[in-house]
Amino acid sequence: MQGPLLPILHALHEEFGYIDREAEPLIADILNLSRAEVHGVVTFYHDFRQKPAGRHVLKLCRAESCQARGSDALAAWAEARLGVAFGGTTADGSVSLEPVYCLGLCSVSPAAMLDGKVVARLDEKKLDTLLAETDR
């Protein structure tokens, strides 16, 4: 395979939920890169976490089409509901709240992705129902 670094990082991320610092020199070794190069790639991309996430990950779209349908208020509500700011994980480790800039679901805004599942035409009630499922 040509240019295998991203596919490798994706596979690790899928398996562990983050890229452990310890993994970087191993990948560097296999691909004949420096550890700094691998680290540079890991830190460049928003997708790659360097710490484990919560048990659930809620990515709420913050981009323009969703803004036009009230996503800013929804985002503030989600922060209050979870007691955590964007980029953070709830104290009990159940949910990580992350921003995402467009999910291509702009025709059914506002949209989000919960653990890889897409949800749209969101409002507080619908989001609350979804979050309630993660509480269980």
């Binding site: 040509q2 596919p7 991309y45 928003h46 323009e64 349908r69 291509g104």
Partner: protein
Amino acid sequence: MTGLRIYVPGDAAAAAVGADDVATAIATAAERSGTAVDIVRNGSRGLHWLEPMVEVATASGRIAYGPVAVSDAAAVLKAAIANRGEHPLRLGDPESIPYLKNQTRLTFARCGIVDPRSLDDYCAHGGYKGLARALAMPATAVVDEITQSGLRGRGGAGFPTGIKWKTVADTAADQKYIVCNADEGDSGTFADRMIMEGDPFVLIEGMTIAGIAVGATQGYVYVRSEYPHAIAVLNDAIAAARRGGMLGKSVVGSPQAFDLEVRVGAGAYVCGEETALLDSLEGKRGMVRAKPPLPAHKGLFGKPTVINNVLSLATVPIILEKGPAFYRDFGMGKSRGTMPIQLAGNIRFPGLYETAFGVTLGELVEDIGGGTATGRPVRAVQVGGPLGAYFPRSLFNVPFDYEAFAQADGLIGHGGIVVFDDTVDMARQARFAMEFCAIESCGKCTPCRVGSIRGVEVIDRIIANRDRAANTALLEDLCNTMKFGSLCALGGFTPYPVMSALTHFPEDFGAPPRLAAAE
């Protein structure tokens, strides 16, 4: 299976509003009533306010129902079996719905109609006719036809596709590549996603034709990670194309080899920029490269590379099938053919609207889109993604055309239109544009990396009513620096949304409103 054929879109937008559950509910209801059904997960027709839109095959064509909730599933199935027009969600023949009927679907001819995972279905609906013609003519003639069609890149820059191909064709090398830009990072856009999920073979066929035309044997589709549905469908379709002999060492029994691989992005908007995308494909940080060299000369792994948007490549088959004149005859000025326009934001009838260039912004937003979903007046419309300008109603007469939009200090970009009602605060929108640039900057040039952060601060001071006149002048200066001092359009075009907000909506920045133009 010879059961009742029922189409429930597997498209991500439909799934996001419950289509998967509706499909399950229909299957359950069918089992309970002992009805044999054959559920096809098609793409979306693009009438997104009606999703989940379920279609049932009947002797006299398809009948649509929508929007169908899980609780409607059993009743819809019953109505479908009886095939009588009495269910309240019955829409009739989907192709008679004016929104769809009035479109000119060339790129999207099959989307929502075919089973996206079936090569046979694709061929039964006219697929692979373009490739058959391409294989029967000299490679240079294929490139010429694309040039003659007037097709311009649909990724944003509008560069003539044929000229790009010719450059690669004329560059001698032991290896060349076709790269499909499926990063679709622009907010308000989803046409690439719909094609990949609804008619992936048209993209595969377009890339195969490109490979034959320029002498490339390997292609990559770089899809953003936010699109898991598209990635899954595309991978299945590629496997089916291989099994069917449409990809591999010998394309349809010809001496031509061409194969494809899907690569997944990692959440960086700048990786949609073609040279950053190539770096990312090579496994590096997605940094924008200085040009020259052009990717057409030294692209992926230093080899001559065609890099095109999904829509550009997905339009290639119909041009080859019907000839360049057929395509070129649609459109206006130097914008030939059709554009799959995406209507989003606060709009009553959101969705995919493919039509010839020349339709006005006002027609799109008011007549076709039906105004706002909230019922309030339209105040601003952003066209062309996060780097596109905000238009006021007074510019609604601008026709959808590359040059006309440039003349109005805007861009059509990838064809996304995001509508805002009169509750929008344009200073906040301008602030967001700067913030987005700061978040997504690749960091190579100072005007973009640092300028965007300063931009947020300056707009914050304007919003807080601190020394407004001086800060507004500073913001204009900053925009000029970014516009002329940035290597790529992320830093270079962020001034579009910012300056258009300031120019057309000065009252939101604490300045006197513009004299009301003829509205």
